[in-house]
């Protein structure tokens, strides 16, 4: 797969043209996200009723997995691939640990562990938006980054639960017995994780055995993707704005955490990416993986396995995570990689 030259518009020189960056940000997915935010702030009754958002989230997971699988099959699992994936998984194990240490300063062990786990994992939606942003910029990126995405959810969940076990308060009796089975099930067989990984495998198998079938999937998984993402982000904007209040109620410590931690993880991620020698597009995606927090698979797993934690804390901080990480990402994207 040819590696197109990074768009001149973007990476030309140190004289970064901020208005150019802003223009690049005025893409339909981002604009529809803010349209959703605006709807809530102005008090519109615009609503995308359940289970319609689920349709789009299932679609996005299936499509991103399938496309990643096709590309993974073509690129193979060479040295840099395994190295990058390993680094990503290590980050998903490491991030929760130091996040937990920091959060314990103000929060009890249950809430600290649940929030820490979401930050170890990733936001598939932010990843996807970044990918389509890279496409607009003409910056090449690889299919194996989706494999990294897929492999970061489960470890983060397991570390989160380990933190509860090891460093959390003693728990009530009720569910003690069924704990570890449920944990592993949530970590590995959570619907979202399963669909993403499964579609990746389907993509690999299809690319290997049935190129014609892969071709016939493209109008659904590829052509439609950008529009469906825009539609889903309209809903995400609505949800994020509705949950903003939760974040405000959570107090200044959590607000500061949800702004500072992604930024820290983004900076760390960009250093690692540099160390790994990743090219611009993959490096930027790696930053997103490190910096963003999960509001799909992990909250569902935490709700089940750490019911003592307050869902509005870990959901609202995770929903806030894209903003600081994006700002760093946009800053980075102006680097002469």
């Amino acid at each position: 797969m040819a590696n197109p030259p990074p768009s001149v518009k973007l990476c030309s020189s140190a004289a970064v043209d901020t208005s150019l960056i802003l223009q690049n940000l005025l893409t339909p997915p981002v604009l529809f996200f803010f349209l959703g935010v605006l709807a809530v702030l102005l008090g519109s009754d615009l609503e995308i009723p359940a289970p319609l958002p689920k349709l789009f989230s299932l679609y996005l997971l299936l499509a991103i997995g399938f496309k990643g699988g096709l590309e993974l099959q073509h690129s193979g699992v060479g040295g840099p691939v395994l190295l990058t994936i390993t680094a990503a998984v290590l980050m998903s194990l490491l991030v929760p640990v130091y996040s937990f240490a920091l959060l314990r300063w103000k929060l009890d062990g249950f809430n600290a562990a649940a929030i820490a786990a979401t930050y170890g994992s990733i936001s598939a939606v932010t990843f996807i938006t970044a990918e389509s942003f890279l496409d607009t910029l003409g910056l090449h990126h690889d299919g194996f980054m989706v494999a990294a995405l897929a492999l970061m959810e489960s470890p983060a969940i397991i570390v989160g639960l380990l933190l509860v076990k090891l460093a959390g308060p003693a728990r009530a009796e009720a569910g003690q017995g069924m704990r570890w089975g449920a944990v592993l099930k949530e970590a590995l067989l959570n619907g979202s994780v399963f669909l993403l990984v499964g579609s990746l495998v389907v993509g690999v198998l299809t690319a290997a055995n049935n190129p014609q079938g892969a071709e016939k999937m493209l109008p659904f998984t590829d052509k439609l993707f950008y529009g469906a993402l825009s539609f889903f982000l309209l809903d995400m904007g609505i949800v994020a704005a509705q949950r903003l209040r939760d974040l405000r109620q959570a107090g200044t410590f959590l607000i500061a955490f949800s702004l500072g931690m992604p930024l820290f993880n983004a900076v760390l991620g960009s250093l690692i990416a540099r160390g790994l020698g990743l090219e611009a597009g993959n490096a930027l995606l790696f930053v997103v993986l490190c910096a963003s927090a999960s509001y799909i698979a992990v909250p569902a797993a935490m709700r089940m396995t750490v019911p003592e934690a307050n869902p509005s804390f870990y959901i609202s901080t995770a929903l806030a995570s894209p903003f600081p990480s994006t700002s760093w990402w946009v800053y980075l994207s102006t680097w002469p990689w």
């Binding site: 009720a174 307050n310 869902p311 959901i315």
Partner: protein, 93 residues
């Protein structure tokens, strides 16, 4: 006969339905995608796409003598995971 109304998170539906079966009730009815507010905060369906789920409302019509076994298996679940349970009288039509 008695009527039991249970309202709890969809995520814990499976163990609750198992408990109802094990208590020997002849049936139950489940309404999902239910929202609400309780002591532990508000539950909406706007994160349903994440697998987090909303609440479920379970109705059980059963003989009065089954209340005790139901109570002893459901109470720990409700107090640990959240949710409410109420009992009232009902006669077959």
């Amino acid at each position: 006969m008695k009527r039991v109304d249970l309202i709890l998170s969809e995520r814990e539906l499976d163990p609750v339905l198992q408990a109802i079966d094990q208590a020997g009730c002849s049936g139950y009815t489940v309404m999902r995608h239910v929202t609400g507010r309780g002591p532990r905060g508000a539950v909406s369906d706007n994160m349903e796409f994440s697998g987090l789920g909303a609440n479920a409302h379970v109705i059980v019509f059963c003989a009065p003598e089954l209340l005790e076994p139901l109570r002893s298996s459901l109470r720990p679940l409700l107090s640990y995971y959240g949710g409410v349970g109420f009992v009232s009288d009902a006669e077959p039509l």
